[in-house]
């Protein structure tokens, strides 16, 4: 199976975890990565610039209807839900889910339903159970599910909930997850269709 999108969900402790994950990817990593990190609704471009220092890949803020391009890392904007359609983003201001907007479950579900077995979901450190059901959906649609090893997470709640929802998820350290992502078979189309 060739993969077309990687979606990463995290909350508490997420900044350091995402930095470590993207820092472990090769500069030529061709699959688009979408990061959903819980944060305050008035925080804006800070996360993007904090991540950009740790990767040669391009870290971008998402705007409505922006195309999803391989080789980019997209950060879900604060105070919106992030949905995907084939090849582009779509934003929504519907109510928060489990007190979160962006909701990891909402984005993961949208990715699962749009990309099916060509989606990869990754749950990292976090202090609540958001993302568990979304990861389950990616797995049920035939996609790949990775979870950070809870004993290596700053907050084990989110990884533990994800493992409970997806017992067959691959539970690994962040460097191991990065290495697995780096060796994924990539859909040729993910780069050419969008560039």
């Amino acid at each position: 199976m060739a993969y077309e999108i990687v979606v990463v969900g995290t909350s508490w402790g997420g900044l350091a975890a995402i930095r470590q994950l993207i820092g472990g990817l090769p500069p030529a990593f061709a699959v688009p990565i979408v990061v959903v990190q819980h944060r305050h609704k008035n925080s804006d471009h800070l996360l993007t610039s904090l991540l950009q220092d740790h990767t040669p890949l391009c870290v971008c803020d998402v705007e409505d209807k922006a195309p999803i391009v391989g080789g980019n890392i997209y950060v879900a904007p604060a105070d919106y839900h992030l949905l995907v359609e084939h090849g582009q983003f779509s934003l929504s201001t519907e109510e928060a889910v489990l007190f979160s907007r962006p909701s990891i479950d909402v984005t993961f579900t949208s990715v699962a339903d749009t990309y099916g077995p060509r989606a990869v979901g990754v749950i990292l450190t976090g202090a609540n159970g958001d993302g568990a059901q979304g990861l389950r959906r990616i797995f049920d649609r035939g996609g790949l599910a990775f979870v950070q090893r809870p004993d290596t997470a700053e907050s084990a709640t989110m990884p533990t909930a994800a493992i409970r929802a997806v017992p067959k998820a691959r539970v690994l350290t962040i460097p191991e997850i990065a290495a697995r992502l780096a060796s994924l078979p990539v859909a040729v189309a993910s780069r050419s269709a969008t560039s």
């Binding site: 008035n42 949905l83 779509s90 519907e94 109510e95 479950d105």
Partner: protein, 290 residues
């Protein structure tokens, strides 16, 4: 296992086994049916979000497919009303994105002062939080008396709420913080009266406001405006419809009129990008220049 159950429901989607090609056919048929039966045209709405909202309604009505929902809403006007609320309500806040309102105060008000009379259109005003927010800014600038505000939405039920001007008391702390960050110069509590769990906003804020139904998809322009607000409405439309609505806004603005969009919306994917200039490097305020 109470929590996973709640989370499961929150996913608002079909069963995993549901065929996505068939799902799209069902959704297109439903939207076509709604258009032909009721005249509401959701056919060019962004697929990802309308799909999510339709499934939420399917679940609320305890149905199991989009086709079931089609049968229900085509035969039952009350069910259509419930769906219409799901499809048209946008969850917003007073002074949403405080830096936007600060920029409106600092950058847009000086332009508006040059006109003897100002017309503002809030397109897709929903329950009116941003209408009251701009009215407060204009009042504090001494401009409200020479401004007429047209606040429109497709949905009569939300317009009714907007006219009433009652917002949840539980959100006033958040709104007060937003107001201060937006550069408010008074005490925010001057503008409302607390009553039970609601905050009733002063009717004088809307003394020059007309709330009226208007459908961005099917209705034409109805005046010339100095400012058009349309924040976080276009995100629910597909690109083709966004373009059509941008044409409507372009025709509705005077030369040097100002278009205000949501913080993650842009003109980048529309044909009108070259007709406007950015008024602020960060906030989505555009001035029509050609």
């Amino acid at each position: 296992m109470a929590l996973p159950l709640t989370a499961e429901r929150s996913l608002a989607g079909p069963p995993v086994s549901y065929d996505s090609g068939l799902e799209r056919i069902e959704i297109e048929l439903l939207l076509e049916g709604i258009y032909r039966q009721y005249g509401f045209d959701f056919r060019s709405y962004a697929y990802a979000s309308i799909r999510r909202r339709l499934w939420k309604r399917v679940q609320s009505e305890r149905l199991s497919s989009i086709s079931d929902l089609q049968a229900l809403v085509l035969h039952d006007g009350a069910a259509m009303e419930r769906l219409l609320l799901d499809l048209s309500v946008s969850v917003t806040a007073m002074f949403r994105d405080p830096p936007f309102y600060r920029a409106f105060r600092d950058v847009v008000l000086p332009h508006l002062r040059t006109y003897p009379f100002v017309r503002i259109w809030h397109a897709g005003c929903s329950s009116g939080e941003e209408v009251y927010s701009t009215a407060i800014v204009l009042e504090e600038a001494g401009l409200l008396d020479r401004t007429r505000i047209y606040a429109t939405d497709i949905n009569e039920a939300v317009l009714h709420r907007a006219r009433a001007g009652i917002f949840p008391l539980s959100r006033m702390q958040e709104y007060t913080e937003n107001y201060i960050r937006a550069g408010g110069t008074r005490s925010f509590s001057e503008y409302y009266t607390a009553k039970y769990d609601g905050a009733l906003f002063s009717p004088s804020l809307t003394r020059n406001t007309v709330f009226s139904p208007h459908n961005l998809v099917t209705d034409r322009s109805f005046s010339e405006f100095h400012v058009v607000f349309c924040r976080n409405v276009l995100i629910y439309f597909d690109r083709e419809l966004q373009n059509r609505v941008h044409a409507l806004f372009y025709e509705s603005l005077v030369t040097f009129g100002i278009l205000a969009l949501g913080s993650k919306e842009s003109l980048r994917f529309s044909q009108y990008e070259d007709c406007y200039e950015r008024l602020d490097p960060k906030e989505k305020l555009f001035r029509k220049v050609r």
